[in-house]
């Protein structure tokens, strides 16, 4: 545990050195969030009926999304890890007495948490004081707040485990970053980052909610805004645990295979 704490500290110090980058990031995310909300305001104003979620919930959803962007963006990857794989430095990594999957898993998670910590507070605070329907509201009750926190942590785990699969994919296809990006982008879409899952046509939505992508940002954010509650919330959390476990087990398995391949072929 101590090892992981120091990995986290190093990552955090590295990330917060880039002060201007953080400021620019916060400003960008604000602008992004506002534009999303403005677009939805127009969509809502023209059509009074048929909304899958109230506008105020949607505003909260969008602000949380911006505040915790670093936790959930699927296209974010750790340059160090990719370089280690493509340059063949991987054999060096293997010579260390640490479980590679665990180390990379934690490194990526630490990276995301460090970024999110640095950026979320200003966004949350300002969004909280915005006027009327644009503002970020508090969760309705303690159960939701608790469910949100648990789901947030699990969701992060699912995102990172998914990222590990992509890293492992890099062992096999070193150069096809193009297709790779499409993967990440589809995952992003299916996790509700472009439009929330309730806006999907109902058939597609039912399937999407069972996929691992729905266990990423979709669940914690919708629990927070109150769109998912009660037994649905519990089912969601169980599903999240299931996907987290499956992805980690599957990820470990294929990484072991990839590593065997590396050692057999000498990198």
């Amino acid at each position: 545990m101590k090892v992981y704490l120091s990995v986290f500290k190093i990552r955090f110090s590295a990330v917060i050195q880039y002060r201007a980058a953080a400021l620019a990031g916060i400003a960008t995310q604000f602008a992004w969030g506002f534009l999303e909300i403005f677009a939805f305001r127009t969509i809502y104003s023209g059509n009074e009926s048929g909304f899958p979620m109230p506008f105020s919930q949607l505003s909260s959803y969008i602000w949380l999304q911006q505040a915790f962007l670093a936790l959930f963006m699927t296209w974010f990857y750790d340059r160090d890890i990719l370089d280690a794989i493509s340059s063949g430095n991987i054999s060096y990594e293997l010579s260390r007495p640490l479980d590679l999957y665990g180390r990379w898993f934690f490194q990526t998670a630490a990276n995301r948490v460090a970024r999110a910590l640095l950026r979320c507070a200003p966004i949350l605070v300002v969004a909280f004081f915005l006027p009327g329907p644009f503002r970020l509201s508090l969760p309705e009750n303690g159960v939701q707040a608790l469910g949100f926190l648990v789901s947030l942590a699990l969701g992060l785990g699912v995102v990172v485990a998914f990222g590990m699969l992509i890293y492992t994919l890099t062992f096999y296809t070193l150069s096809s970053t193009g297709l790779w990006a499409v993967f990440a982008m589809l995952a992003d879409f299916m996790s509700g980052s472009v439009i929330p899952l309730p806006f999907f046509p109902s058939g597609i939505r039912k399937i999407a909610e069972l996929l691992p992508f729905a266990s990423m940002q979709n669940l914690p954010l919708r629990i927070y805004v109150g769109n998912i509650a009660g037994s649905d919330m519990l089912i969601g959390l169980v599903l999240q645990c299931f996907w987290l476990l499956s992805l980690v087990i599957f990820g470990r398995l294929i990484m072991r295979r990839a590593l065997t391949k590396v050692t057999v072929h000498g990198g």
């Binding site: 880039y18 002060r19 201007a20 980058a21 400021l23 620019a24 990031g25 400003a27 960008t28 602008a31 992004w32 534009l35 403005f38 677009a39 305001r41 127009t42 969509i43 023209g46 059509n47 048929g50 150069s175 096809s176 970053t177 193009g178 297709l179 790779w180 990006a181 499409v182 982008m185 589809l186 992003d188 879409f189 472009v194 439009i195 806006f199 999907f200 046509p201 597609i204």
Partner: protein, 258 residues
């Protein structure tokens, strides 16, 4: 111009060395904006129109924006890589050559894989042109053409500002994404959808609306002001202050060498 052709060939030649990767990236780029496209389909499956625009009209708008971007990205891609050019010293090499720095940066790296996005937007454009119910007179075709070409010039101006900022900081660049990537992603809707203030900003400060919203209103017959059709070329004037900013940054680089 002849020299640009030479650069073009040598770029093509190098990228053709890795054919598999090249075509995979083209395929990836082709699919790149699929999520935005899907989001439009999903939203419009619920609501028939947004602020008076139908799905097909919005697709026309989106296709124009995508295409303008794909041109700008393909030919002015070097600016995107500019931060790394500065940090690895490649820019010093540019400075010891007797040609303008902008020309060299643009010519140095063209990314043909970006054509994937171009093909995708072309498909969408052709579909939208047929489906949106506009009678394509010669003048309207001309306006459409101007929207795409002038659009990519305006976007190139943004890239210039992005590269110019690199002379001051390599960290704060993320903010420009709201205008570059954001201009593309949010460009899926006519800019009026985002409210009056945003439209004003995009008309007078960063004139993205001049190649998107106003001429679109003319094309769709929502406005009969012919002036709107001439706004895209006026918008290209935006490149002048961008160029001035770049020059200012370059001047500073020469005195700090940061």
């Amino acid at each position: 111009m002849k020299l640009y052709g030479k650069f073009f060939l040598i770029n093509l030649q190098s990228q053709m060395q890795y054919k598999v990767s090249f075509f995979l990236t083209i395929a990836g780029q082709f699919l790149a904006s699929i999520s935005t496209f899907l989001s439009l389909l999903f939203i419009f499956s619920r609501f028939p129109e947004i602020k008076g625009f139908t799905l097909n009209q919005v697709l026309l708008c989106f296709a124009v924006v995508q295409m303008a971007f794909s041109f700008a990205e393909c030919f002015a891609r070097g600016f995107d890589r500019f931060p790394s050019m500065i940090s690895n010293g490649e820019f010093d090499r540019v400075m010891v050559r007797p040609r303008s720095a902008i020309f060299q940066i643009m010519a140095y790296k063209m990314e043909f894989a970006r054509l994937g996005r171009f093909f995708q937007s072309l498909c969408m454009l052709i579909y939208a042109m047929i489906a949106c119910g506009v009678f394509w007179s010669l003048s309207k075709l001309a306006v459409l053409f101007l929207m795409i070409i002038c659009g990519s010039i305006i976007i190139t101006g943004l890239f210039l500002v992005y590269a110019g900022l690199t002379f001051f900081t390599v960290e704060g660049l993320e903010f420009m994404n709201i205008l570059t990537d954001g201009g593309r992603e949010f460009g899926r809707y006519p800019f009026s959808v985002y409210g009056k203030e945003v439209l004003k900003f995009l008309t007078y400060v960063v004139p993205l609306a001049l190649y998107q919203y106003y001429p679109l209103m003319y094309l769709l017959g929502k406005s009969d002001k012919i002036l709107y059709g001439f706004l895209p070329p006026i918008g290209t004037l935006f490149i002048l202050p961008c160029f001035a900013f770049w020059r200012f940054g370059l001047h500073r680089y020469k005195s700090t060498g940061s």
